[in-house]
Each structure stands twice: as C-alpha cells, then as structure tokens.
C-alpha cells in the first residue's frame, strides 16, 4: 500500500500540536520538542512508503520524536550540559503516566502560548505555529506580515517562555476565567482576520477561518465543560456557514439581509445551533455564547424579513450587560431600528463615541436612507468610505451611495 508524501504531511499537520505538546512536557523545551518532531517527520517520509502507515501514526510520531530527542540529549549530556541532563531525567518518565485532570498536553501548550506575559501578536503566531503546525511563511502570508518579522516574533516569544519561566500548565480555577479569555480571544482574532480578508485573489493564502475552527474544536474537545469555549465554536461555525453567500458575481460583499440563504452551509448551522442549545441548558451566559445565540437566531430565519429581531434585541441587551462596548451598543442600535424603526436606531447611534469606526457610518447611512434623509445618508456613506481601505467594502459603499434616490 503506497503512501504519498503529501499524505504523510497531512498526518503530521494533524498530529503536530499533540506531539509537540507531549514532547514539551517531557523534554521541558519547546525548540528541542519541535526539532524532534521534524526529525520524526523526515524518518516517516523515508520509512512509511516502504513499511506502510503505522497503526497509530500519532503515537508513532511521538515515540520516534521522543527517542530521537533522547539520543540527541545523551550526546549533548556527554558534553556535560546540565540542562540536557535535566531534560534527560524528565525524558525517562513514562509519558502515559500522567496525574491530574488534564490528559491532553495541548491544553497546557495553548495556555503557555496565550500567556498574558506575551503580546497578542506573539500569542497568535505561537499558537498557529505550535498547535496548528503551520510553517512560519504560511502564517506570515496569512497575516500579511514580512516573513522575517513573524519569524522574529516567534523566536523572541520562545526565548521569553524559556528565560522568564512561563509555566507549562493549565491555570488553576482562580486564574482560569481570565486566562481562558485570552485563549478564546486569540482564536477569535485568527478567525476574524480570515473572515474580513476574503479577497480570493491570493489563492495560496491560508484559510485562517478553517484554522480557527480547527483550534476551537480542539478546545471544545479538551474543555467540554466550559460554556464559553462551546459558545466560541458555535459562533465561528454559524458565522462561517454564511461564507458561500457573502460574495456573488459582481458583488464582492453581500450583507446579511441580501444574502441568498439557500447558499448557507446547513451542516455548519445545525452543528452551531446544537451547540447554542447546549449552552442555553447550562445557563452560564458569557459574551461568546450570546453572540452565538444571536447568530443562531439569524440562521433560523428562512428569509431576512422573517428574522426574530425582538429576540435579537433581547440578546443584545444581555450582551450589553456583560460586555458593554460601543461596538455592541452599535449592533444593538441596528437591532433596535428593526424593532422600533430607524428613528429609534438613529437616536441610539448618535449617542455613541465611535466616530472612526466605519460600520457606525454605514449603519447611520442606512437608517437615514430609510428615513428619506437622502442628503445626510450620502454624507454618512462618504464618512464610511473615508475610513475603509478594503476594496470589497468600498465597492459596496459606492454602490449603496449611488442607489440613493435622486443622487447622481
């Protein structure tokens, strides 16, 4: 049974995070762990086409990588390297014999990657590198950052983890809510980066939405009792389900009310809605769960006109209670306009301090248009245009502005 190199790559990509995480635990060093996993990959490329796929590829990679690392450390230990000897001691522990509630090392690794002592861009890069198994150039391209910058960011973060002694463990109950919030924020940032940059002209560009969903699934599998983790996964799935309808021939950006709902991905919606129901049963509200619930209400409407805006407004009120940001207030104002009319929505918007946030001007323009205040609507579209560089959004805004009645 022949196995191709790209299939082997696929296994490595899927198993990378788990293998590196396990090796970090018994080697106590991220760089040595990564090197060992890469060496194991080279061995697999040599051997698997001859021997066929091992029964448990993940375990094979971990064992091979571990043996390689131990060999290497033995060689170095003979050169009286204190650290190598220490790591060798760890290496002799049986990896299967772990105590404590968390059996999967990936959870430790993600909390290390998203430690608050690391800046957010470093958290994101490390998480994608170590848990996602992505190569540095792929991550750099996805975030439109020079490769050298991203490589530097990762090297610096790994050095800090080692030198400053950032621990490799899941935080205790007291710290967990804050620390988990950082982990979820990293995954959400990766998703949003992919979601707002849907300019299909760069085909080699990595799909960050897929990556974020993959990470969220891993987290949901590892922390099935954390409702916000499930909430985030649901939110990503429900948002992503609309992707096929977000663009149309000649329309680089189609907004929710105008989307062809038959294009929405039913499987993702079903999965997302089931997660939202699971969260509701637990009844421990949090911002991701509420946003997921809002997305679920949208996805339940067969047509835009049948949207249950009253329910959405109730959910935005709840969101305002636990995450009172101006952006949430803006979205609430949009829901309010649907329930009570554009006048009420406009009044709510005009109290917001969000002048440089272009969606505010887009929402204002739409409400003014519905109120027949065409000249003011045109000015609001101009304000929005002045604040966005995204080509798809600009095309959309120009079109909207042109469609105002009685405008050139």
């Amino acid at each position: 049974m022949a196995i191709r190199t790209d299939e082997i790559e696929g296994y490595f990509r899927r198993e990378y995070g788990r293998c590196v995480a396990t090796l970090v635990r018994f080697l106590g060093d991220i760089d040595i762990a990564e090197e060992a996993v890469q060496e194991a990959f080279a061995v697999a490329v040599d051997r698997w086409p001859v021997t066929g796929l091992p029964p448990n590829p993940g375990a094979w990679i971990t064992t091979t990588a571990r043996n390689r690392a131990i060999d290497q450390l033995r060689r170095e230990a003979s050169r009286h390297d204190r650290h190598a000897q220490a790591a060798l001691l760890y290496g002799q522990e049986d990896p299967a014999e772990e105590v404590g509630p968390v059996r999967d090392d990936r959870l430790r690794l993600i909390f290390t990657c998203c430690h608050p002592a690391l800046a957010r861009p470093a958290q994101v890069a490390l998480t994608l590198r170590l848990l996602g198994g992505l190569e540095t150039p792929q991550i750099a391209r996805a975030f439109l950052v020079p490769e050298a910058t991203l490589a530097q960011r990762i090297v610096r973060a790994k050095k800090k983890i080692k030198a400053a002694g950032i621990p490799y463990r899941v935080p205790g109950d007291a710290e967990l809510p804050d620390r988990l919030a950082a982990v979820l924020a990293v995954v959400y940032l990766v998703f949003n980066e992919g979601h707002t940059a849907t300019d299909g002209d760069d085909l080699v560009r990595l799909n960050l939405c897929d990556e974020a969903i993959r990470l969220a699934r891993v987290l949901a599998g590892l922390m099935p009792d954390e409702p916000e983790v499930l909430g985030l996964l649901a939110l990503l799935l429900l948002t992503y389900s609309r992707t096929p309808a977000r663009t149309a021939p000649g329309h680089p950006l189609v907004l929710l009310p105008d989307q062809d709902r038959s294009l929405w991905d039913r499987a993702l919606i079903d999965e997302g809605q089931a997660l939202v129901r699971r969260c509701l049963r637990r009844n421990q509200r949090g911002p991701y769960q509420i946003q997921a619930a809002i997305a679920a209400v949208h996805s339940a409407a067969p047509a835009a006109a049948q949207t249950d805006w009253r329910q959405i407004l109730v959910l935005y009120d709840q969101l305002m209670a636990c995450a009172p940001t101006a952006v949430v207030a803006l979205n609430r104002a949009v829901a309010l306009a649907e329930v009570e009319g554009p006048q009420a929505g406009l009044a709510a918007i005009d109290g917001l301090d969000l002048g440089s946030y272009h969606p505010l001007h887009v929402a204002r323009a739409d409400m003014l248009r519905r109120l027949g205040r065409t000249a003011e609507a045109a000015l609001a579209y101009d304000a929005a245009l002045a604040l966005t560089a995204n080509a798809a959004e600009r095309t959309f805004l120009y079109r909207r502005r042109r469609e105002l009645p009685g405008r050139p």
Binding site: H115, A117, A163, A164, G165, I166, P167
Partner: protein, 118 residues
Amino acid sequence: MKQYLLAVHMVEGEEPQSEDETQQAYKDVDALNAQIQAEGAWVFAGGLHPPATATVVRVRDDEVLTIDGPFAEAKEQLGGFWVIRAADLDEALAWAAKATRACRAPVEVRPFQDDAEG
C-alpha cells in the same frame, strides 16, 4: 527555583501622593516584605534615593570617568526593587501584583540569567 527582579518604576513629574498615602505605602511595603520572607521567597530588597543622587562611572580610553548621574535622562527611573525566588513566572507575577499595589508604582518583572540552586 528561579530568581526574578521586581523593579519599581517611578515616573518623574507625576502628581506626588499625599503624606498619608505615602505613609500607608510604607506600611503596605513592610507588610509585603514580611510576607515574602515568611513564604521563603525573599532574596533582597531595597528602596533607592532619587536619581539626582546617582553617579555614573565608566571607562573610556582605559581611563575611569566619574560623571554626575543618572545614566539615562529618562522620565522613568528605578525607585527600588525586590529580588525574589519563584518557581515560575506566574508565581513571580503574583508577587509583582502585590508589590505594585503596595508601592503604588508600576513593577517590571525580569528573570535573572542563572537559575538559583535548590
């Protein structure tokens, strides 16, 4: 165990705190010092006189120069520090959180290069 420097940064030109507040800060720092010692994390600590009292010594062309300090003409200067022992950064950060409350100034946490023995 690792050792960490908890450096207290004073910002020049900031509104001076009231006398009561200063007295309370001294008391809080004393209480914290006692706690650090009681928990075996204590290595050393001290408060410094203002930067105007500093003198810089350096070698140029094999000659020792003595210059009226401080070294950096910055608005932020070291006001004092702790050196503590901690198992990892989280433990050090927990002490730093207590330290910044006690001394009412930002605290920078830096690891020492060599792990402390034992």
